[in-house]
Symmetry: C2
Subunit: 519 residues, 2 copies
C-alpha cells in the first residue's frame, strides 16, 4: 500500500491495497480501513453501510487500487466515498457562506483544491422574514422551522446542481460540504429549533454540530456526503466568524491582530496565536442596527467612491460597472462623509454646513440634504440625495465601531498602535477605503499597509476546511480559545461613544494623519 505523495495533504487519498489471499483473508472493508489507518496515522476510521455495500464490487473492479474521499471530526476519520483511481470525474466539495441575506456557494475539485465555479443567491428565507429575529419567530410557529429549512435547502440544491452541471459534474459527485453561517442560520439549515437563541440566557441547541450526513438535511448530494457546519461560540458568535478567523490567520499570528467583520452585524475579534477575544456589535442595545444601516448593497450603478476637491468643491464619483448612478453603498457613504468633512461641507458633528455645500444643499421636508447626483445624471430619473439623517446614522455607526474597537483593545490592555494587522472582512471590507474610514474616525489611524481587505472570509474559511485537513482541528481550537466579551454598555462605554460621535473624534490627537478641514 502506498499513497500518491502529491495528494497527502488533502481529503482525497489514493491507495493500492494488497489483494486478499488465503494467507490474508481480512474482509474488504477492514482491509481498506487498516490501510487508511496506516496512511493517516490514526486508529479511528469508519464508513457508512452504503459504502460497505459497494465495497466488494469497487475493490475487485479497480484491482484493489482505489481513491477515497475522507473527512474528519474530533480526530475520527470518515470514509465518504470510494472509487477507482482513474475515474474521469474528480471528487468535488462545496463551500457555503450561509449569510442571512446572501448565500455564496463555491464548487471545488477536492483532488487539486482548485475552485471550479462559484455562485451567489439571496437567502430564500428572506421571503419569510428579512432578518434573523423575524425568521426565529416564524420558526416558532407550527411547521415554520421545517418551511425555513426547506427554503434554504431547496436554494442550495438548485444552485449546487447548476454549478455542477456547468462543470460537467453531477450533485452526486459532491462528497464534502462545509457551511459557515451565524448561529441562527446554522440552526435553521440543520432544522434545529432556534427559539432559545434569542431568549435569555440565549442558548443554542448545539455549539458543535459535527459532521452531518447530507441526506439527513434533504441535500441531493452523494448518499454518504458529510456536511461540516462550523461550530458557534454562542448565540451571538457563529460559525461564520470562526471561519473568518481561520481565513484571516489571526489564530496563527505571533503579533496581535484584529479582524472586523461588518455584515448584517459588526463583529470584532482581537488576538494572536495565544489568545482570542471577540465581541459583537449587536451586544449592546444602544448599537442595535447602528453599525450596518449604511446605504444600499453594492451593485451596478451603485456609487462606491466619492472625491471632492477641497479647493473648488467639485465632486466626482465612481458608480459600479460604470452605470448611471442609482444609489450609494456603505463604503461610498464613508467616502462621501470623509470628503464632505475635509471640504468643510459638514462640521465636526457631521452636520451639513449649508453655505459650504452651496447649490448642493437641499431642504427636503424641512430636513437638510446633500445632492450627490442631479436628476439629469441619475440612473433613477430622480436626484440622488443624502439626508442629514443618513449622515447622523453614519456618525452613530462609525462611533459605535470605534467605541467597540477602543473598548476591546483597552480590555486586553493594548492600543490600536500595537496591532500588527487590521483585517476587514465582508463585502463592506472589500469596498471600504481605509483612508476614508480613518478620516471619519471609524477605524483607528494606523499605517494604511496594516489594513487588509479579506473579502468573503466566511467563504474563505469554509474553503480552507475543504482543502486543508489540518484546519479541522484548528477550527475547534479557535472555537475553544475565544473569550467572548459581553459589551457592557455602561457609563464608560457611553462616554466613549459620545466622544466618538465627532469627525474624526473629540480627541483629534488620535488621528494625526487626518488633515484639518478646509476653512
Amino acid at each position: 500500500m502506498n499513497a500518491s505523495p502529491d495528494l497527502r495533504s488533502g481529503w482525497v487519498r489514493t491507495l493500492r491495497l494488497m489483494p486478499p489471499s488465503l494467507e490474508d483473508n481480512t474482509a474488504d472493508a477492514d482491509r481498506l480501513v487498516s490501510a487508511l489507518k496506516t496512511e493517516l496515522n490514526t486508529d479511528s476510521v469508519s464508513m457508512d453501510l452504503d459504502l460497505l455495500k459497494r465495497m466488494p464490487g469497487l475493490l475487485r473492479k479497480s484491482g484493489f487500487e482505489i481513491r477515497c474521499t475522507l473527512f474528519r471530526e474530533n480526530g475520527q476519520w470518515q470514509v465518504v466515498s470510494v472509487d477507482g483511481p482513474s475515474s474521469a470525474k474528480p471528487p468535488a466539495g462545496v463551500a457555503v457562506d450561509l449569510g442571512t441575506s446572501r448565500v455564496v456557494v463555491r464548487l471545488l475539485d477536492l483532488t487539486s483544491g482548485q475552485t471550479l465555479s462559484e455562485t451567489a443567491f439571496d437567502n430564500p428565507q428572506i421571503a419569510v422574514g428579512p432578518d434573523v429575529l423575524a425568521r426565529i419567530h416564524t420558526a416558532d410557529t407550527s411547521k415554520g422551522g421545517e418551511h425555513l429549512q426547506k427554503l434554504i435547502i431547496d436554494g442550495l440544491n438548485i444552485n449546487i446542481e447548476r454549478l455542477c452541471v456547468e462543470c460537467g459534474l453531477a450533485p452526486g459527485d459532491v462528497h464534502l460540504m462545509t457551511v459557515a453561517g451565524n448561529t441562527a442560520m446554522s440552526h435553521l439549515f440543520l432544522g434545529l429549533e432556534p427559539r432559545w437563541i434569542i431568549r435569555e440566557p440565549y442558548i443554542p441547541v448545539v455549539n458543535r454540530p459535527g459532521l452531518v450526513p447530507a441526506a439527513k438535511l434533504g441535500l441531493d448530494l452523494n448518499p454518504s456526503t458529510r456536511v461540516k457546519v462550523f461550530p458557534n461560540v454562542g448565540s451571538y458568535f457563529g460559525g461564520d466568524l470562526i471561519a473568518g478567523i481561520l481565513f484571516s490567520g489571526l489564530n496563527r499570528s505571533p503579533d496581535t491582530a484584529i479582524l472586523v467583520d461588518v455584515g448584517t452585524n459588526a463583529e470584532v475579534v482581537l488576538g494572536n496565536e495565544n489568545w482570542l477575544v471577540a465581541c459583537a456589535g449587536a451586544a449592546g442595545p444602544a448599537l442595535e442596527g447602528g453599525v450596518t444601516d449604511m446605504g444600499m448593497m453594492a451593485g451596478p450603478g451603485v456609487i462606491d467612491t466619492v472625491a471632492i476637491d477641497p479647493e473648488s468643491g467639485d465632486l466626482v464619483f465612481h458608480a459600479i460597472d460604470e452605470k448611471a448612478p442609482v444609489g450609494i453603498c456603505g463604503s461610498g457613504l464613508i467616502d462621501l462623509a470623509a470628503q464632505l468633512f475635509l471640504a468643510g461641507m459638514v462640521d465636526i458633528r457631521g452636520k451639513l454646513v449649508p453655505d459650504r455645500c452651496s447649490e448642493r444643499f437641499r431642504l427636503i421636508d424641512e430636513l437638510s440634504a446633500f445632492e450627490l447626483v442631479p436628476k439629469e445624471k441619475s440612473g433613477s430619473g430622480e436626484a440622488l440625495t443624502v439626508g442629514q439623517a443618513d449622515l447622523d446614522s453614519l456618525i452613530r455607526s462609525k462611533a459605535a465601531m470605534f467605541t467597540i474597537l477602543e473598548t476591546i483593545t483597552e480590555t486586553v490592555g493594548i492600543t490600536p498602535d500595537d496591532l500588527g494587522a487590521f483585517h476587514v472582512a465582508g463585502t463592506f471590507g472589500s469596498f471600504i477605503k481605509p483612508q476614508s474610514a480613518i478620516t471619519v474616525g471609524m477605524l483607528p489611524d494606523l499605517r494604511l499597509d496594516r489594513y487588509h481587505a479579506l473579502g468573503n472570509s466566511s467563504l474563505g474559511g469554509a474553503t480552507l476546511a475543504l482543502t486543508d485537513p489540518d484546519c479541522i482541528e484548528e477550527i475547534d481550537r479557535i472555537r475553544d480559545r475565544i473569550t467572548y466579551l459581553e459589551l457592557n454598555v455602561n457609563q464608560v462605554f457611553m462616554n466613549r461613544f459620545s466622544a466618538a460621535k465627532f469627525l474624526p473624534h473629540t480627541d483629534r490627537g488620535r488621528f494625526p494623519s487626518v488633515p484639518l478641514p478646509q476653512k
Copy 2:
C-alpha cells in the same frame, strides 16, 4: 451533575445538568455531551441530528434532569436516546441470536438488565434456501440479496413488535440491539454481498460492522436505535461464536478451557485469558455434514433420553413433554448408541449385533435396523427405528468431533486432561449427556463436573453486550486474539479419524471410565 450510582454499570445513565445561565451559555447538546464526557470519563460522545432536534424541548420539559441510553464502539460513545428521568417506559434492548435455521429474540429492560420476554422463530430465509450455500447463491441473483434481507428484517420486525406489545412497550422503545450470527447470516442481515464468502480466498465484505443505525436496515425501531452486529474473524468464524466465547468466559479464564458449539456447524474454541485458538468442523471436506446429521430437532414427542438395562436388555426412554414418541434427537441418539454399545447390541465398529438385539433387530430394505419404539406405542402410527446408516453417520460424526478435539489440543501442546472446563453450547449442548458422549467416544473422558452446558451461548453473548458495557471492548479483544486454525485434513488427521471410528476408540486407554460392554 451527578449520576445514579446504581445505574453506573449499564448503558442507561441519569444525569442532572446545571441549567443554562448568562454565565454558562453552553448549548443544550454540548451541555449534555460535556456532562456525559465527565460521567463516562471519555472524550468522545456524539449524537444524531434527530436527537439534537428534540434536545431543547426534552431538557426544558424535564428541568435538565434526563435519562440517556448510550452505546459504544471503538471507544466512541453514541447517545441513542434521551428522555425524562421518570418516564413510565424503560429503554429497551433486543438481543438476537441470528441462526441459519432458528432466530431467537430476547427483549430486555436496559435499566435493570432483566429479560422481559423472549421468542424464537424459523429463519424466514429458509423459504429461499435451507442452508448458507443456497442463500448465498440466491443473493448472487438480481434482487436476491435484497429479498433475503427483507425476509429476515420483516421476521424480526414482526417478532420484536409482538414481544414489545406483550410487555406494554412499543418498538420505538427499543434503543439498542445486538445481533450474533454467523458471517453469512450477518451479511444477509446487513444487506451486504455474501458472494466472496464462499469463493477462494473466502473474503467477507466486513469483519467489524460497527454500530449500524436500525433505520438503515429497515428495522421499525426508534429512529436513533443502533444495532451492534458481532464481528467475525473470517468467512467461517462468525459473530455467533464471538458471542459464545464472551458468554462462556473462556477469554477471562486463567485455566485453559474449551468451548464446543454444535449448531448447523461444529465449532471448537480452545483458550484462556492469554490466547484463543479456534477451528470449525466444516473446514475439511471429509467432515462436511458429518458432525450435525444426527436426528431431528428437539421438540414435543422427541426422544431425548434412552436407557437399556445391560442385563435384561429392557429399554426405557423419555420423550419431550411426555408425549407419545415421534422421533429421536441428536442427544437421544448418542444415548441410544452408548446404551446399545454397553449392552453389547452394537459392536465396537457401531454395527448392530442381530442376536443381541433379538426381537428389536429388523431388516428394512435389506438393511439392519433397531426398533426403538414399536408401532403400537409410537406417536406417528409407525414403528420408530434407527437404521445402521444412522448409526454409521453418528460414528462418523463422533469420530470427526473427537478428531477435531484431539487435533486442536495437540496443536497447542496440551491433552484433554489439561482442560479446566469443557463448555458445550447450542441446543445440542443443552440436551447432550456428557456420560453418553464419553461412552461413544465423542467427547474426551473428563470428570463430569468439568462439562458445562451453556445453552444458547450466542444469545447469551448478545445479551451480555446489552447489559455490560465493558463487554464491548472485550468483544473486539476476543476477535483480535483468535488464531483460526485451518484444519489440515492430511494423512495424520485421517489416521486419527479412522482410529476414532470405534466405540469409544481403538485406544481404549483413553476412556478409562467407560465400562466394558456386556458380553
